[in-house]
Symmetry: D2
Subunit: 352 residues, 4 copies
């Protein structure tokens, strides 16, 4: 698969650098005659947008999306949908010092190692800004999935502080700036993030995304497993270093599931499998979790090297998130939607 | 990507059911003039083969691989390499009872939900037997990577018992039937597995695979990230429910890395990133970990339903592994090799 | 797309050399629960088989196909279908002389230029023998298309002798060894081919393939055009140097079509477009024509060079066709079936 | 392959409708550190631009291309290159009459048959306007090919009037508005086209594209044949109904080629194979020819049907080309460049 495209039939291709004139994407394979307008996409973008609280980057972007093709008189036409967002607040001056110096946890060194050139302004192509287009594409994917499928995400851990699942309340995720489902842990997160922000460091986070109403039968054996595609989707998000389906790593010490009938439908009693068996959905909620490492742009000096191989130190003065994981919630939801929509189309192709 | 193919340029397509006449694969995109014979592939298969200790399934298969195309006078020709292994010991009689009854942790229900038909004999296409072809393909991938790249795997946890990393010794992995790098934990694993085997249950495991000598620059931004492809590769292995790159989920509570020069090369001091930044290799060891859930074929009766939707119980009398994770080590190594080889070719294409 | 695979959703991967132990293919993406047995495939292979008249190569092969996977109790399961044909009559001794000498119209030089190695026995991978697997895959594709879609082919020109379309009778194609729809031209073809055979030369041919009953709406705009895929499919057949859709090159001097209603369906009055407009089927017969150049294995000495770059002459003593175009008819029919089946699945995915 | 993308490693994705706000493309897989600016692309677009003579459509577009990503400080970065052209002169009023009526030779009916909706303004996605982005992508492809590879095209037939190859002079193609290499035929073309224009009809054309300096070894056996990809590329251009490689259909009545050494390199004496044998380049010029049918937008009334299935007549008052084939020359050149660049990268991947 090309490096900047995602999906087989619901196919998203993104482009753009953090400090270029714009970012955009092309979404191909969308079924015709779906109602679609910018107003279907903008709310998802607004959820992800920087500058919504003191806990995320203060970069100011209205992130206004425009549809340039593929929609006619309010309906999709089956032809590719091009979306674009202009970059408004790209202060290149912040990034001069890192032109020649690699930030250790960033892709600075690796882009240079691969390409021998990099757009060092704001991370260029490696910037989390690219994820805005994933969120936009996800809003289109949700249109394909329809109202039966509900996708929602939450932050379940910030730094060392994990939520208590006994207190889980999805409604809470809209009531705090952390998409946190456990109101009781919120003060601890606020304190930890304020401390990090003042210290010029940052914290990692764990995000959980759940899809309800997914029909049984999506996915495919062996190399088309829907959980393998979900794993790639989530690890493909910036700074993600791990992913779990259902019980995940805890499954090492668990025993198996059981099935009963409920309302005429099979119900798996534990859903430790996270809604996927043999790479195919079971009809239970699809549950995915992923970890976002701490932001690597920090103001504390770190040992590093220059592009010429000299040892030095680096710290970054730019505006950045004390916890990028928070803004990863809508991104994770969007990737879930994209993978499900792709597999819905693939399933319809083969199995009618 | 087609459901039974893997990789973009180093492309593996597998076929075959557990109890059909044979299993096989086609490996396309292999560079020409590499020395290759069955004897390069067979040792990897022998490491994975069932029946090598009392802790793995007693199914008897010699798993003898034949090369049917793509090799001429001992060298690859650049045309597709077809490999085949005859199925020898496919006792269909073991599987009669589960013809109409779904094993809760298996793909029985989901295959039926998707296709409306399934080859119920031995798990059919969903059988771990398919992974033999991954191991075979991995041996070819290793030929492409060359001697500079060393890939090796170990089991780091069985059930609740994790290795002590302070005692890690790669040489130990060849000295016990568990690919265990910590000799001191072996007796605890033996006891846990014997207990499970007698009780007719099974245990999950966590496997770690490391690749040394991988050059910096492999991978690609955004949707061609090498760690996203590794995540898909590992989650695509049967019964895998989670994957980590480098520090993985522990990264939630970690701070960043630093770089120094060492022998003229950059060295990342912690390698918490697992050898990958921004989806591109750093030149440090690539480290991946994945969890294999407990075997779902167990002799303890479990509640389940039939294909007609009636509630019932099921237990499986077939020969199965008390811990399938053990045999997943060579499979994980092979998937690592396949992903690296694919990205080596992709990098050469774009960056010369 | 990988070099030895064809199709996006109905995906055929072939392998094997002319003089290796076997040739085979893997067909992925086949819908489940289609009745399928070797007896559905063998008749198509028998139509293509060498040795059926004095006008085609006398190589003796029973070309008996075996299904190794993907079919259970007489039905497709949705998993990959592996097919294999053993090579029986691979006389390597015929090909010694050309080990070091390039036949000018063959792929000998170009394979060496690309790979630096080639299996020179019988053309290796470049042999028309590979097309047997296309015919086998086409038989499976026809199962997907169902009885509504009828695909049939004919030879319309041999050397300089073209059929008279006024005398076209599809039934005639089964009555002569040339798939010729014009009984009156058959004696001229017999004479031309006998002359060529005795002179040790060969003749080219033009083949026409028509698909009736194809629904309107298959294909896609821009780069998924069904006629572009048909063009690639036909030019991908050995020795094909040109392809036409509908009126083809004659369209340069034609004016446009018109539409009337007939039996409640649109009918295009000329169908000069060959059943495709804007890359999408119109519901009219899909008509494709392609040219097969003269066989390059001939007994008349031709000037050429050796692998070392020395000038020399070459003639080939092996058993070959005086007109390979004849045997290309079932291959062209099969490629038509594969392209249509792929687009049928693609259409179902996007448009339901 | 996705319907609106082209190429495996050099991958072009286009978007946009004739009368939408803009058209654009994303070019992925471009090697890094190639010098690239809008001024490298604009001249190719200017060659294709409408309104340059009375023989092509009088639609006024400056077709000014902007690079939005993938280029930094004048060099490619290896990340996707987004190009956009604003639509300036989209007079929707011309197309009202055809909203409900199908033009017989256009994609009006088939788009409706497929999607149940179409952007009827100016042909929407099916408009030849999309080919501007192919030309732009081709200019980038040429950068990859470098100065050694020269690609040039010519119109060799308009209506019934073919050039005399004995008078072929590439320099002439820049001296007349037809890309005609035979000065002596130009007056006949002028007359034929003026006649067609006045009569409100149009003429088809045949275009030939040649690439010199292509190294031997590009392409791949079986389904990755470079001539199959060229065939798909050319038939994928709007209104193309046939394609030939080298001698093409004339090969039916030809005998084989011969090889001599010349300047230390093999030379094929006739190059009837058009520079490709067995799907792989020979090092001789790659020669492709394709036919463009007559423009289907004509002012002469034609019998047709409405979207509701009523019989009627249609004629089109919009501004259109009396011979779209003329403007197809730069498009054919661009598609040649794209296919060659893709195979250059593919060859480098596999064969180093």
């Amino acid at each position: 698969m090309a490096s900047n495209s995602f999906g087989l039939l619901f196919r998203v291709t993104t482009w753009g650098e953090s400090h270029g004139p714009a970012i955009g994407c092309v979404v191909d394979g969308v079924p015709p005659r779906l109602a679609l307008a910018e107003s279907d996409i903008q709310p998802a973008l607004d959820r992800r947008r920087p500058g919504t609280s003191r806990f995320v980057t203060q970069r100011r972007e209205s992130d206004t999306v425009r549809i340039l093709s593929g929609v006619f008189e309010g309906q999709t036409t089956g032809t590719p949908i091009a979306l674009v967002i202009e970059n408004e607040d790209a202060r290149s001056r912040d990034y001069g010092p890192i032109k020649e110096t690699y930030r250790p946890g960033h892709a600075d060194f690796t882009y240079d190692a691969k390409y021998g050139i990099r757009d060092y302004r704001g991370g260029g192509r490696a910037s989390a800004r690219e994820t805005a287009m994933r969120v936009a594409a996800g809003a289109i994917a949700q249109k394909i999935l329809g109202d039966e499928v509900t996708i929602r995400g939450a932050v379940v851990q910030v730094g060392e502080h994990a939520v208590d699942r006994a207190r889980w309340d999805w409604a809470e995720t809209a009531e705090n700036p952390f998409f946190c489902p456990d109101a009781a842990i919120v003060p601890a997160w606020e304190e930890a993030l304020d401390t990090a922000r003042k210290a010029g460091t940052s914290l990692g986070a764990i995000i959980e995304v759940e899809a309800d109403g997914v029909p049984a039968g999506l996915g495919a054996p062996v190399y088309g497993k829907i959980d393998a595609d979900l794993a790639a989707a989530m690890v493909g998000i910036n700074a993600v270093k791990g992913v779990e389906i259902g019980a995940g790593f805890a499954a090492a010490a668990m025993s198996g599931d059981e099935i009963r009938m409920e309302g005429g439908q099979p119900r798996f009693l534990t859903n430790n499998a996270g809604g996927v068996l043999g790479g195919i959905t079971t009809g239970q909620p699809v549950v995915v979790r992923f970890v976002v490492k701490s932001t690597s742009s920090i103001r504390t000096p770190r040992r590093t090297i220059t592009a010429k191989g000299d040892e030095t130190e680096v710290s970054t003065e730019g505006r950045h998130d004390p916890c990028v994981g928070i803004r990863a919630v809508p991104v994770g939801e969007a990737m879930m939607a994209c993978v499900l929509a792709d597999h819905l189309l693939r399933h319809r192709a083969q199995c009618g």
